[in-house]
Each structure stands twice: as structure tokens, then as C-alpha cells.
Symmetry: C2
Subunit: 716 residues, 2 copies
């Protein structure tokens, strides 16, 4: 691919990006689009209403960029939780390491590559991009030590940065554990595979077991019931509520702090309170009837202290490891009740089936990927489609096709599949993997660069524009003519965005010393990603599931893998170029990198899998000193109730970070009990269903905003 | 290789085996060799003295075979512990599965192979052994379903047998845990990486930590001291003891129940008691002096109950996973004190270095193995050594060379290296592994068969003859002219014998449907192994380290691997022979085998890595009910003492199984205390040094024999 083709592609993409970002800065100011671009703010009650006649809103402005840049990490942590901070730290790490890489490789490696062979160079823009790759070096070149040295610098910098990041994030995670003092999940263990006994119910078996073996720490338990009965009860209640609504139409589901037990609506009338009491008795009767038959062999068991729960969850309980399986419970709003119905002895086989399915799915995509890759080679293209030969002779079309089309087609076809698989079909021989990779990577360098434009830059522009949500919003408004501002709050798509970051990291590392021309473009991508993701986390997405930074070890390990792959490819190249010295120096580097990885695995990884006993014991002790334990125990049972005791509407408030809610323990005892119950109730989700809240709780009370949020609100 | 060459080789080996076994049956009856062939019996005090003028002892007899055959599993368990039983169960499993395999393959697969191509067959003994392999089938043969069916039968039988064995051994392991009620290791946790503090000793830091966090369960602890000081103290004491001996030569180390504190001798005189008290005060002073400087950041911590110790050992203690590292303690006599000196932060790097070393060592051996394998091909042999051409034309020499020499050379060269590596250098392409394996295995079938003779049968004969020990015994007697019956008791070499069993299992499975001619020879090997190993375990080896059946998961997993490799090779063959049906049916078999493996990993494997809480809690409760706990706690401290409080001589009694010793808990309180201390003391090894006992404690008291041992003794 010629440099001019590359620049054409870059130009097209930069234009698209600028246009889309400008469009975004206008669209976000339109009141009609608040639901799309300020979903999070609306839920948390912090969006400013613009004056509809304020004409400035049709002029593009970079204010959002400035705001995203200025938001500090503490503000982000308070507003969006630890996972968001860890994600942005991944982006920052990428910016740092690729800044170093770009400086080293463009200053030293690129000139060595360019002047690698004694020949007359054309003008820069007419040069083939391959002149800038390591392929341009002649065999047995004495300049390969530059590449080797660059590799050492990059690896050392990456390892140092990774180490410090890991250390910081481990500290943050410990802070996250100690900070979330009143989490019910810390006192709770999820028990599966309770053994069946013909003469007593699961509940009896369980309480007998725990009063026998853990009498000093066991508090109570909450069985999991068959989803069917719960569903039927909910349906009955819903129907009852509906019929009552018809009788008394003035009783409407107006937001209030008193939630209805069944329908999910909110009420302030006394008549409704009577119904909810009635409903309780109905529920009690029905459960009593079905309980014996409908109990599942799973339960949440509550313990006196966090340490007790930790111990029960980590120790092998029974001499049959398929019985009394224990795990620390998920947060109440993370429980997916339907899954708890699955017998434990089926779980492992389901996991395997999922894995096999995923692998098969990836391999199916190998065939079209191979075809697409062929398009980057013009000769192959005109060979495959003879009718194109005439068109391909025209220069601009030629540039567009080779520089832009293949990756666009690829994106369209396989948006969902990690394109890492591209490299897999190259392998056929174990011994020659380094050499084969070394041959494959530089020829595909041009393709990877354009992939960076299309999948990287363009996807970021798509991310900020939210085209699907925008269109959905417009259609919904046009069709329903509904004045209600309805929207769907989304959770941040970590499952697609972290792999994307990792993929670009992989491309950056593997191309660094071989084809360094990709690095500036990647650096632009990461910088843009930082601003855009930060903006989106602050404005659009809600935090529902909080892993406490558990994404970091994945990022760490994959980055180490990328480094190792880079070293192996470089090793292959040094072999191809007959440089024994460079090869010889690369092998210790590989070993050192492996050692570093192993060290981090010992030093930091356990913190991300287990809770340290010392920390939990200290937390327990502090709570016992303050006399809060009794209070905490009282609430455990209700929080893990399969029948939603709180409304669907109010639960959405829980999606703003817990820091925004008044701490239940800081309240006075008499008022504390009621409000704390309310707050914990927010975390009890509507029986695990995955649908999101769809109406704007515009009247959400202002006391639910933290100082941070209010400050953010004022600034925007 | 011709069948006659194979039979020549078998004949040579069978003759050697018969001669050696006959020789053994004579040698074992010679009183001079008791130390070689009855080491275990002598230690446990159960060897009968033959009358030296009893001339029957120069006639070979099969009595030892009968006795080995007749010994039941319970007797074996009582005499040699669970590991020995598990090892023999491995042999029995191999006999069972290869009996089934041999019947199926010789009845159905062998005829199909033999008549695979329409040609005139020679006389059987002139046929090449390759006629009996799958290679003889013509391409696209319709008879390949027989092989596929045989594969299904073998896999099903193997999985069924493996399942039942795993279940039985898991039960045995649980029985082993509950049966060893008074083991001090169950109450003890080994703590490493105690954090360093400038203003207090490690001991203070540790007791502060445990009284703070585990005040309800912590009993006491025993620090690990720098080996230097301990060594010096021991040397001083030894010297003191020696000088005292010179002063009072009548105080001789006569066996008695009162052990000397320092010299390892045994005494019944009062003067020696006074010395031991003096020694105690000296020891106390010296330790007090050096303790602060010489403490290592490691300790044994004792807890009130088994469950408490289990919990502390399994929970992540600190927010820095490289500090306060906890593990369940080894048995006192398994502690290797020198290793506890190594800082924990060095351990992981040492482990990696060991692994790298082992891998490098194996790869170095690839070159000679390749050369040796070439010898099985006559053409290659005469090409490599032109001067051999004349000799090779002679028929018998030809047969000996191809049928016997290569594997003998291989054995001589690489006795210590698992010859599994042979297959590794065949691989070069990932995709073609099945086909390449399929091509490689049948051509090497002859080689593997002779390998079975030389490495299998001959090594068994060597095992029973114990040539090294025999020669050593003769030389020692001739040189020292010492009338003392000195010998060295050995431990069973699980580390070489289990890999050997597994290797033959691998050879058997992989050759089963491809070259079934090896199976009868293998079956003979396993049968012989059963008798010989049983005899050796009963008579020769002592049990010092007891893993509680933890070898079984290794055997299980490797057998599954062998099955999978067999299936993959068969798949390659079905591919080569163009049988899509057979290939198609093999793939589900592979998946089913993987599923079975995964099931066993979930169902049984955890029991072999962790202790079930329920079991330990029950044991704790039983001991508390019986009021034994106090008594147990009192003894914990002394048992894990780095300074050997008990003699080297008396410790050898502990090498006989614990069942032989009177249970300390069954004794009356007043007499129980002294005797139980004595019994636990047996397990306290002489500061972990690896040297074995070298003198015959022929006067060992008869109350140390169990009924089983006495019965065994009477029978022999």
C-alpha cells in the first residue's frame, strides 16, 4: 500500500470523525435527545433543561471535551464506581506506553528501516508503506540491534507501568471492599446442591446442617423457590392491582417513597396500604402450600460476621464436593433468580457447552476473514474479480479500495467477532510459528493501520453518537406521539470495549518494531478513546454491576501476552534476517517477561479472587464496636427476597452509585431503621429480569444527589 | 521386525526373568541377605531367623509368590499405608483394563488386520510383525468399524473402571483422614513470610497477629530458627555425649523406652537422666541468646481444633498475598527444616528454575533417542555402520540386533529419563499431528514391544533382586568384617515406579487397536508387577511419607490423557485409510472422554486437595466430647521442635504404620500422658536429615507389632 493511499484513508476517517463529533456537540444540546445523551444524568437527577429558544444550541462546541478532560479520578470514582476508573486507567496505560513506544520507534527504528537498503528513494507520499517496515532491511543487517534495544525499552516500560498500575488498582480494590461497609452480600453465602432428603424439606436439611456445624455463626437463611410459583404470584398480584386501578382510577402510580409490594407502582393512599397487607397474607398462604414441593436445592445463608461468611464460602464443606457447594453471594440486585433454578450438577456441563459453542463460532468466521484479507492485495483482487481490472487502473479508486474497503467490509461482516482470529489460519507448523508470524505481520501492517481507522476511530465516533439509540428515540417519538420522555438507560459495554482496547494494544505492540507507522494513528485512537469514554461514563451509562476492579487482571494478562507475542515475532524476524546476536538477546527478554508475569500473579492476583481475612476481620470488629451488627443482621433476610418487596421504579435509583445515598448506618436508630431498609431495598432487583427502566423519573428527589453530582450538574 | 525376532527377544527376556526370580528365591533365604530382602520386616521386628544348616534354602521355591498373592488389601493397608494400597490398585486397574483390551483386540482387531489385504500369507513365525498392525489394511477398508467399535469398548471399560476406582479411593482417603485422629499436623498451620518489624522479633509479631485476629482459636506457636544455630547446638551435644561415653563406657546405647535427648542413644541409667536435664538448661540459654537474631520468618502455629487450622490455612490472610502465607503443616517427621530457611519470596522463582531445568534436561535427551530409534530399521543401521553389513546377513544376529539391542542401549543410556519424549520429535505440524502419530506408532510397534521386555520385565527382575543393595551388602560385609547386620531401609520409589506404570499404560492404549500384538506381553508385565511390588512393599520398603492416596489423581489424569491420545491416533489412522464413518464416530468419543474427565475433576478431585470441613468438624466434636482436646494441645509444641527431643534410633519405629502403635487416646490418663508423648515423639524426625537408619534394632519390643504383623510373621 502506498503512503498516499494510507493518507487518503486517514483523511476520510478524520473527516468522518470531525463531522460526527461536531454533530454530536449539536445533537446533545437538543432537549429531545436528552434521553439519549444524558441517560445517566436523568436517572441520577442532574440534567439541566436548556431553554428551547436558545439558538446557541445549533452551533458545534468543544465544551464537552473540556469537561471530560477536567473531571478528576476521584469525581469519576464517586460518580461511576471502581470499574469505570479501572477502565479509564486501561486507556491511560495504553496512551502512556504507546507514547513511549511511538517516540522510540519513530525516532530510531523507522529511519533504520527506511534506509535499510541502499536504493534511490521516491518522494515520501509515493513510497510504499512497506519501505517503513523491517522487511526493508537487508539480510544480516548490522542495524538489527536497534530493534532489539527498542524491544527492551518497550518491554521494560510496559512492565514498569503495569506493575505500578496493578499496585494502585489493588489498593483501590481494597479501599472498595472496606468502603462498602454495609453490603449485605458480605454476610451472605450462596449454597447450592443441598442434598435431598425424602422426609424433610430442603429448608429443614439446611437449617439442621448449619445449626449443627456452624451454630455460633449461622443467623438465618432464605430459600430459593421455583421460578414458576413466584411468577404466578406476581401475575396474580399484578392482575389484582390492575382491577383495583379500574375501580379507583385516582389511585395512580405516582412516584413516592412508599413502594407497593406487588405491582411495582408507587402509592401514597391508605387504601393501597390495605391491599398490600392483604397481599402479604395471600402470599404467605400460597408459599406455605407450595413451599415443600417448590423449594429448590439452593439458598442464601446469612452469617453473623463477614469473616464467618468468607470462611464458609471458601472451605470445602462435604466429602462429596458436588453437595453443599458454597460461594460468596452476589449483591442482591445482581441475583439472576432464574439461574439459581438450574441444578448444580448441570452447571459444569452447561459451561463446557458454552465454551465449545464459542470456539466453534469463532472458527466458522475464519473463512470469510481469509477472503477479506485477500482484498488488500490488488493482484489477488483483480484475479478474483476480472471485471474490476478496468476500474482498478484508476488511481484514486485503487487507493480507496486497498486502503479502506477491506476493513470496512470486515467491520460490517464481523462486528461482533474479535478479529484476533485473523492470525490463526496462518499457523501450520509449531516450530515455524515465530518465522511465519514474522512473515505475516508486516505484509498485513497496512491492513491493520486501516483497521485502526475504521474499527477504532469510526467506532469511537459511533459510540459517542449512539446512532441506534438516537434513531430509536426519533422513531418512538414519531410513532407514539407520547410526550413522556421515555428512554433506556444502558450499562457500559465493558464486554466489547475492553476486548477492543486489548486488540488495539496487541496491534500496537506487535507492529511496534516491525512496522512503526501505525503508532501515531493508534495514539490518536487512544487519546480520543480517553475523552469519549470518559464523557460517556459521566453522561450516558449507569453503573449497575460493580466487579470491584476485577477487569484489571484480564487486561494485565492480555498485555503480557501481547508483549510475549511481540517478542516471539521479533525473534522470528531476527531469525529470518540472520541476526544471531539480536535473536540471542531476545530470548532472555522473553524469559524475563514470563518471570515478571509470574511475580505479579503471586503478588497481586489473589487479591482479585479472594477477600483478605485481615481486612474483613477489621471491618467486623469496627462494626461490633459501634454496635451495628444487630441492625445489619435484621435486614439481611428481606434483602435477598425472591419476591420483590420494592418497586421496579425505585430500584432504578440504586443504579446511581451508593455513595450518593445517605449511609444507613449514619442515621439515628429510630429513623435509621426505616430509611436504611428503604436504601437496602433499592438493591433488591425485580426478580432478576434484565429489562431496564423506561420512564424518566423526572421528580426524583434532590436529596439523592451527592455533592459531587450537584457540582457536576452546576458545571454542565 | 519378524515375528521370530520378536519371539527371540521374548525368549531371552523370559529366560533372564526366570533365572533372576529363581535366584531371588534362593538369595532371600540366606541369612546374610536379610538386610537386603527383609529391610521392612527387620525394622518392624518381624523377620524369622532361618536355621543356617537348613539345606532347603539352596533350592528355589515359589512360596514368596503365593504369600504375595494371598495378602489381602486390609492387611496391606495396615502394614504399609494407603499409598501402597493405591499403588497396587493402579497395577490392578492396569491388569483389568488390559485384560479386556487384549481380549477385544486379539479376538476381533488382530484377524481383521491380518487378513486386511488379499495376499498369500507365510508361516506365522516368518511373517513380519507389521502384518498384524492396522497398516496392513487396504485404503478405504470397510472393516475399520471393528477398530472403531473396539475403541468404544476400551474407552467405556476404562472410564467405568476409573470411575469406580476413584470412588473407592476417595472413600479410603476420607477413612485415612478420620482414622488418623491424633495427628498433630491436623492442628497445625505452617506460616511463612511473617512481616519483619524493626522493633520486635518475628515471634512477637506472630503472637500479636494471632492473639489479635484469632484469639479464640490460637493456642501457641513454634518458631523456625536458622539452621546454623541448631546444627551447632546438636554438634555440641553430640560432642558432650561422646566425651561422657569415654568417661563411663558401661553406659551403652542399649535399646530402652527412655530416649536420650541429644546423642540419639537410648539409656536406662540414672546418670544419663541427669545429663539430659543439664542439656535442657544449656539449650534454653543458647536459644535465648540467639533467638532474636536467628529467628526465621516462618513458624508452626497451633490451633484449638482441626477446623480452625483448616480455616486459617485456606483463607487469604493479608492484603499483601506475599505475607502471612499459610498452609496446613506437614507431619512432624516430614518437615525438612533446611527448606523452611528459604525466604518465601524466593520460592516461586526456585520452582520456575526447577521446571525450566527439567524441561531443558528432557530436550537434551532427544538427540540420542532419535539415534537409538534408527537402529530398529536394519537398512538404516547398515547404512550408518557399513562394516556391520557382513554380520547383519546372519539370521540370528539380525534378529537379536533388531529385536533386542536398541532398547537395551536405550535403557542403559537413559534409565532415568521418561522415554515418552521419543514421540515429541515427530511433530512438526499442528494440523497433521493425528496423521503423523498414526504413521509413527505402527512402525515403532516392534520397538515398543521389545522396550516392554527390556524396560518392563527386566526392570521388575532388577527390582526384586535389588542388585545394588545386594552388592553393597556383600562389599560392606567383606570390607568391614563387621558382624553387625547393618543395612539401609529404603522407601518405595513411587517417583520412578508410577511413571513407569503410566508409560506402559500409554504404550498399551496407543498400540491397542493399531498393533495389538504388544498386549499379551504387557499383560504379563502387569501381572508380574503386581506380585513383585506387593512382595517388595511387604518385605523391603518402609513407609515414611504418607500422602493419603494423592498419587491417584495423577494416575487418573494421565490415563485419561493416554485414552485421548489413543483416540487421536486412531482418528489419524481412520483419516489415512479414508474411512469417514470411523473418523466421524471417533470425534464424539473424544468429546465424551473429555466430559468424563471433567466430571471426575468436579466430583472427586477436590477431596484430594482439601480436607472437607464436615469431616474435621465431626472429628473435633468427637474429641471434645471425649475430653481429649486439652491433652492433644499440650503435646503440639514439643512435636514440632526443631531440636530433636527424641532419639534417631527410636524414630525408625515410627516408620512402621501407625496402626501398629497403641493409640495414645485409648490409654488411661495417668499412664496415657507419658506413653502418648513417646508415641508422638516417634514422628519427630532427626531435624529432617534424609539419612536412613543403619542398624538392626533386633531387640525391638514385641508390643510394637500389630496382630496383622504377627500373623504375617508367623506365615513367612
Amino acid at each position: 500500500m502506498e503512503i498516499s493511499a494510507l493518507l487518503t484513508s486517514a483523511g476520510i476517517n478524520i473527516s468522518i470523525c470531525i463531522v460526527l463529533l461536531s454533530l454530536y456537540s449539536i445533537l446533545r444540546k437538543q432537549p429531545a435527545n436528552y434521553c439519549v445523551y444524558f441517560g445517566r444524568r436523568l436517572v441520577c437527577g442532574g440534567a439541566r433543561r436548556y431553554d428551547p429558544f436558545w439558538y446557541e444550541r445549533f452551533v458545534p462546541s468543544p465544551s464537552w471535551l473540556v469537561k471530560a478532560w477536567e473531571t478528576s479520578e476521584d469525581e469519576l470514582l464517586a460518580a461511576a464506581g471502581l470499574d469505570a476508573v479501572v477502565f479509564l486507567r486501561m486507556v491511560i496505560f495504553s496512551i502512556r506506553i504507546f507514547f513511549i513506544t511511538a517516540v522510540v520507534c519513530i525516532a530510531f527504528v523507522l529511519p533504520v528501516n527506511y534506509y535499510g537498503q541502499p536504493k534511490v528513494h521516491k518522494e515520501i507520499h509515493l513510497e510504499s508503506s512497506e519501505v517503513f517496515t523491517i522487511e526493508n532491511l537487508k539480510e544480516g543487517s548490522k542495524w538489527l540491534w536497534v530493534h532489539c534495544l527498542a524491544l527492551y525499552i518497550i518491554t521494560s516500560a510496559a512492565c514498569l507501568l503495569l506493575y505500578f498500575e496493578y499496585r494502585t488498582i489493588a489498593k483501590m480494590r481494597l479501599g472498595h471492599i472496606t468502603g462498602s461497609a454495609s453490603k449485605p452480600s458480605q454476610f451472605t453465602v450462596l449454597i447450592r446442591a443441598i442434598p435431598w432428603s425424602p422426609d424433610q424439606s430442603y429448608s429443614d436439611t439446611l437449617s439442621k446442617y448449619f445449626t449443627n456445624y456452624y451454630s455460633s455463626s449461622y443467623v438465618s437463611h432464605q430459600m430459593v423457590y421455583h421460578n414458576g410459583i413466584i411468577q404466578r404470584l406476581l401475575l396474580d398480584a399484578e392482575r389484582m392491582c390492575q382491577s383495583l386501578k379500574h375501580v379507583a382510577p385516582e389511585i395512580n402510580c405516582k412516584p413516592s417513597l412508599t413502594p407497593c409490594t406487588f405491582c411495582g407502582g408507587l402509592t401514597a393512599t391508605n387504601s393501597f396500604h390495605i391491599l398490600s397487607n392483604e397481599g402479604d397474607s395471600v402470599k404467605g398462604m400460597e408459599i406455605g402450600e407450595f413451599a415443600h414441593f417448590q423449594e429448590r436445592p439452593a439458598a442464601f445463608v446469612f452469617f453473623k460476621t463477614r469473616y464467618d461468611a468468607l470462611v464458609v464460602s471458601e472451605v470445602l464443606q462435604s466429602s462429596n464436593p458436588m453437595l453443599w457447594v458454597t460461594d460468596l453471594a452476589p449483591e442482591p440486585h445482581d441475583v439472576y433468580w432464574r439461574n439459581l433454578n438450574i441444578p448444580y450438577r448441570q452447571l459444569w456441563i452447561r459451561r463446557i457447552a458454552t465454551l465449545v459453542g464459542a470456539v466453534a463460532f469463532m472458527f466458522v468466521f475464519l473463512i470469510p476473514v481469509t477472503f477479506i484479507q485477500g482484498l488488500t492485495q490488488l493482484q489477488q483482487l483483480s484475479h478474483a474479480f476480472p471485471f474490476l481490472r478496468g476500474i482498478l487502473k484508476e488511481k484514486f479508486i485503487n487507493q480507496v479500495i486497498t486502503g479502506y474497503l477491506p476493513s470496512v467490509i470486515l467491520i460490517l461482516f464481523f462486528y461482533a467477532v474479535p478479529p484476533l482470529m485473523m492470525q490463526l489460519n496462518v499457523f501450520s507448523s509449531v516450530r515455524d510459528i515465530p518465522a511465519q508470524l514474522a512473515r505475516a505481520v508486516p505484509t498485513q501492517a497496512g491492513f491493520f493501520t486501516t483497521y485502526c481507522f475504521t474499527s477504532g476511530w469510526a467506532s469511537l465516533a459511533c459510540e459517542i453518537m449512539q446512532p441506534m439509540a438516537l434513531i430509536w428515540n426519533l422513531v418512538a417519538k414519531a410513532v407514539s406521539k407520547n410526550k413522556d420522555e421515555s428512554y433506556e438507560t444502558l450499562r457500559f459495554p465493558y464486554h466489547t470495549e475492553i476486548p477492543r482496547l486489548l486488540l488495539f494494544g496487541l496491534l500496537g505492540f506487535t507492529n511496534s518494531v516491525i512496522a512503526p507507522l501505525i503508532l501515531p494513528f493508534l495514539l490518536i485512537y487512544f487519546f480520543l478513546a480517553y475523552l469519549i469514554y470518559k464523557n460517556q461514563i459521566l453522561n450516558v451509562y449507569i453503573t449497575k454491576y460493580e466487579s470491584g476492579g476485577q477487569y484489571w487482571p484480564i487486561f494485565h494478562n492480555t498485555t503480557i501476552f501481547s508483549l510475549l507475542l511481540t517478542q516471539i515475532i521479533a525473534l522470528g524476524f531476527f531469525g529470518l534476517k540472520l541476526s544471531t546476536v539480536a535473536s540471542g538477546f531476545t530470548i532472555p527478554l522473553i524469559l524475563l517477561t514470563l518471570l515478571f508475569s509470574e511475580y505479579c500473579r503471586h503478588r497481586f492476583a489473589p487479591i482479585f479472587h479472594k477477600h483478605p481475612a485481615q481486612v474483613l476481620l477489621d471491618m467486623d470488629r469496627a462494626d461490633e464496636m459501634a454496635g451495628k451488627m444487630e441492625e445489619l443482621h435484621k435486614k439481611l433476610h428481606n434483602v435477598y427476597s425472591q419476591i420483590p418487596l420494592h418497586s421496579q421504579k425505585s430500584s432504578s435509583k440504586g443504579e446511581c452509585s451508593t455513595q450518593e445515598l445517605p449511609d444507613p448506618e449514619k442515621l439515628k436508630p429510630e429513623e435509621g431503621d426505616a430509611i436504611a431498609k428503604e436504601l437496602w431495598g433499592y438493591q433488591g432487583n425485580e426478580s432478576g429480569q434484565e429489562h431496564e427502566d423506561k420512564s424518566c423519573p423526572s421528580a426524583s428527589s434532590p436529596e439523592h444527589r451527592t455533592p459531587t453530582m450537584i457540582e457536576l450538574h452546576k458545571r454542565s
